[in-house]
Amino acid sequence: MNGFVEMLFDSDVGAGSGGPLTALFILLLAFVVGQFIGWVYMWTHRGLSYSQTFVGSLVVIPVLVAMMMMLMSGSIAFAFGLLAVFAVVRFRNVLKDTRDTTFILWSIMQGLGVGTMRFSTSLIAALGVATVLAYLRMTSFGSRHRFDAVLSLQLSGNVGSLMSQLKRILYEHCARTLLANQRKTGADSTSVSYRVLLRDPERSHELQLALENCEGFGNISLFLREDESEV
């Protein structure tokens, strides 16, 4: 068994000193740094054109580039070959998404690794990149999952007490709320809009029912929406 494991993970041809642990360390460090970059991007992004897949690509690309540098080992010939292959692929395909580009790059890297007889490094890199992508999928990395519904209603009457009552109801049904919009529409009527994160989205009708049963609440609309992924 040990021999089989050694065959899988320590059989690079012509590799220098290092071995599988070095490859793992390199990929891990690249992933940590990539995730840090992704978080910084998420935290500092302002504006409308936010893309979750782009943030995910920020995490994967350092890993792929680290793998590429490991495989090239400073060889100019490999670098030019890689450039040529990538140019050909890019020329033939219009890559709509950064994530697509990432996968194209990954495929090319794997071909480069196997072709240069760095079998173990290719295997480790394939498992590593797949794990990273699975992690991104599982954690929905890059999504700003703060709210999942928009509640709009009109308050008629004593706004103060109605707001207190509204907040009590929202506390029961929501994990998080944010007053997005408050607009006075009349002498004693106010239109408010909340972004809410429901505790149980499948029981959203109970929230609506609870609001409808209260005096002073009208034009209630609960709009379930996806996270801010693509704008």
């Binding site: 891990l28 460090l29 506390y171 029961e172 505790r199 149980d200």
Partner: protein, 416 residues
């Protein structure tokens, strides 16, 4: 915010929120911890290369000439192949003749020398007769006697020269016979050739040896006679030689001196005909083959002192690259590991540090295509590290070795 009972969050959504919120942070922390652990392991990785010292010396031809095939004896038995010359991995002993240069030139020079001596023998009586004819007109007996002594001294000198030339010629012949005997000895033992043939060569060798011994004795006698004649001549130093003696004998004397120098030259050439191994080892490289013409200084074979008992490699030479933040010092503990699988990591101490930064040999660079400069250090090999000369070893200069596991006693080494 207080209020009524909050709706419980279903497990599915709790898990979802855990995945979206907490899991990235936990995974990040776990990856950072794992990365730090591997980073520490990376620090333990070898950051240098050392080469076990090797003794590898090319053996060069001492003179110009053609290489002659000689037998090589490996382990006391002649090799069974058709070739009777050196081959890779042949073991040689110190002083063993590996190759020979063809002695035809030297033999021809000896023959020429002998002819010149004969010519001098002929010229001297002619000069003597001429002098006698001139001296007939003189009444001075003492001058005539001195004249005779001079001629006797020169005759004795020529005789000495003749003996020496004969001895040189016989010594060359003796060497050839000894070589033939060495070549035929294993063939006789294996019954490839008849013992009678071998004995014939032995007899011839003995005869030549006897002749050499006889000539040496005769040489001593001739030298005694020469010395006696010169002593007697010296007693007539107050009398000036007749001018015609100096004029007639002078060229012969000069020719005798020239032939003596030629004998010395031939002696030197004969000594350089044999190419011997300077130490015990194995042939690891072959540069020239028999029947090939070589010049003085051309390497014939390269001998490596490998696997000789008592001469196992004791040191490894490593280079600390300038880019490394390590200043090697005498006594610094380093980690050594052979690249063969299963070899353990051992510790050793730096015994010597080079005086200056120098270029690292390419095969010791981390990237052979990029030249590096470093400080050489010499590391004695521990007893439990088996390494062959020229073998590469992974070296770790990490400070963590010396701080964590610095031995309190001197480490055992092959140099004690």
């Amino acid at each position: 915010m207080t209020g009524g009972n909050r709706i419980p969050i279903p497990l599915k959504h709790k898990w979802r929120r855990f995945r979206y919120n907490a899991m990235p942070i936990l995974c990040f922390i776990a990856c950072v911890l794992l990365m730090l652990g591997l980073w520490r392991h990376q620090g333990q990785m070898s950051n240098g290369l050392a080469e076990v010292e090797r003794k590898c010396v090319p053996v060069a031809a001492g003179a110009d000439g053609k290489l002659v095939a000689v037998s090589t004896i490996a382990g006391g038995l002649a090799r069974s192949n058709d070739h009777n010359y050196w081959a890779l991995f042949d073991r040689v002993h110190e002083g063993q003749v590996i190759a020979r240069l063809d002695d035809s030139l030297v033999r021809a020079a000896v023959v020429t020398l002998q002819e010149d001596v004969e010519r001098l023998k002929v010229e001297l009586p002619a000069a003597k007769e001429k002098i006698r004819v001139d001296a007939l007109g003189r009444e001075d007996n003492a001058a005539r006697h001195r004249l005779n002594l001079t001629v006797q001294a020169e005759e004795a000198e020529i005789d000495v020269l003749d003996r020496k030339a004969q001895i040189e010629a016989d010594e060359i012949l003796l060497k050839r016979l000894i070589a033939r005997l060495q070549y035929n000895e294993p063939l006789v033992r294996n019954k490839v050739i008849a013992a009678a043939e071998y004995q014939v060569i032995e007899l011839e060798r003995d005869e030549v040896q006897k002749r050499i011994d006889g000539n040496r004795e005769a040489l001593k006698e001739a030298e005694k006679i020469r010395d006696g004649a010169q002593r007697r001549l010296a007693s007539y130093s107050d009398l000036a030689d007749p001018p015609e003696v100096e004029t007639l004998i002078g060229p012969i004397r000069a020719e005798i001196r020239t032939q003596m120098l030629r004998i010395d030259e031939l002696n030197l050439q004969i000594r350089t005909l044999d190419i011997v191994a300077p130490f015990e080892g194995e042939i690891c490289e072959i540069h020239c083959w028999p029947e090939q013409y070589v010049r003085r200084g051309d390497p014939i074979v390269t001998i490596a002192a490998t696997g000789v008992p008592g001469e196992e490699p004791r040191y490894a030479i490593a280079y600390v690259p300038e880019t490394q933040r390590i200043r090697p010092e005498i006594g610094m503990v380093v980690g050594l590991q052979s690249r063969y699988p299963g070899n353990p990591r051992v510790q050793a101490r730096i015994a010597q540090v080079g005086p200056q930064i120098q270029e690292i040999p390419p095969h010791l660079c981390r990237d052979p295509a990029r030249p590096e400069w470093g400080l050489p250090v010499r590391i004695p090999l521990p007893d439990d590290l088996r390494a062959r000369p020229g073998e590469l070893l992974d070296v770790r200069y990490s400070k963590w070795i010396s701080s964590k596991s610095e031995p309190t006693e001197p480490l055992p080494g092959k140099d004690g």
